[in-house]
Symmetry: C2
Subunit: 200 residues, 2 copies
Amino acid sequence: MATPIEFWFDFSSPFGYLASTRIEALAAKYGRSTIWRPFLLGAVYKINGVVPTPNVPLKGDYARIDILRTGRFYGIPIAVPSNFPIGSVTAARAFYWADAQDPGKAKQLASALYKAYFVDDVDIANAENVVKVAVQSGFDAAAVAAGLGDAAVKERTKQEVENAIAKGVFGSPYVIVDGEPFWGMDRLDQAEKWLAGGPF
Amino acid sequence: MATPIEFWFDFSSPFGYLASTRIEALAAKYGRSTIWRPFLLGAVYKINGVVPTPNVPLKGDYARIDILRTGRFYGIPIAVPSNFPIGSVTAARAFYWADAQDPGKAKQLASALYKAYFVDDVDIANAENVVKVAVQSGFDAAAVAAGLGDAAVKERTKQEVENAIAKGVFGSPYVIVDGEPFWGMDRLDQAEKWLAGGPF
């Protein structure tokens, strides 16, 4: 039985968004299921003493060029949001609230949140906006709002960030196939080679 | 008249080495010439407050896996050197000494230095080893040794590092096509799309 592909991502990560639009088709092509796991890059960066890319002097300027060009290269719509980067804990909590009910619907919510942020310039650091996107994805407004404040949801989110750190997840997207890590949108080609032919 | 492709790299950079094995064929395919420009990542990192990747806790462990797997993915021999990363100023000076005489021979020397370091585990931070590699590439031992200590060579090397910083080169490899920057071995595919069809 083939193991599921683990897809770790931060809702503030442009390459996480780009990869999210391709991971399901990639998995399906090789008969794999997926497990989506948002985490918080800020928590990982704190441990590693890393400065977020958009805030690194030369690298940050390049990142904006690279994000847009990579979208065009793959034919995936993307814009740099007005408020970027953001803390993504609210979006992550919405995901884990939905995930406890239905992992499939949680993936749809994640895709909708990513599209809202990276295509429609909706600030998903804002809880009201997260609720609006969830409603558009078929969830009940009052239920989502309550979920965002739920202690179990907060604890689950915290736990998954700790799981990410324990697994060595240090960037977004981070894909794990049969225990093998692939960091970055630009390693999906290597992940595909692994899926197609096994270890290389 | 098509402009030359600028290829910026650090001799301690594994992805710089991997890209160096492909840049000439890529350029030739699209009727372009190349200009090779080693620089010193350490100087750039100092400005940007960046920690070298091998020294970042989780990222450094992954980097070793990724370097070897990327070599296998492209069919390019590579090993993680015993002494890694290194300061590469001596190798860079050898290059600029050779470049002042013959840019073509300097590229051959750069390729030989990269192969010595990333395939044969020769520590090219060591000046004696740099001279040996240069001799194997057809240069005169005494002339190279004198070149490494030459004030004009040191000044040229320093100047090219400043040029790199002025151009916004913050990582290795860094390829510039018609003014457009492409950072990383994994952006050669986008550079190729640009070379084939122009801006996108």
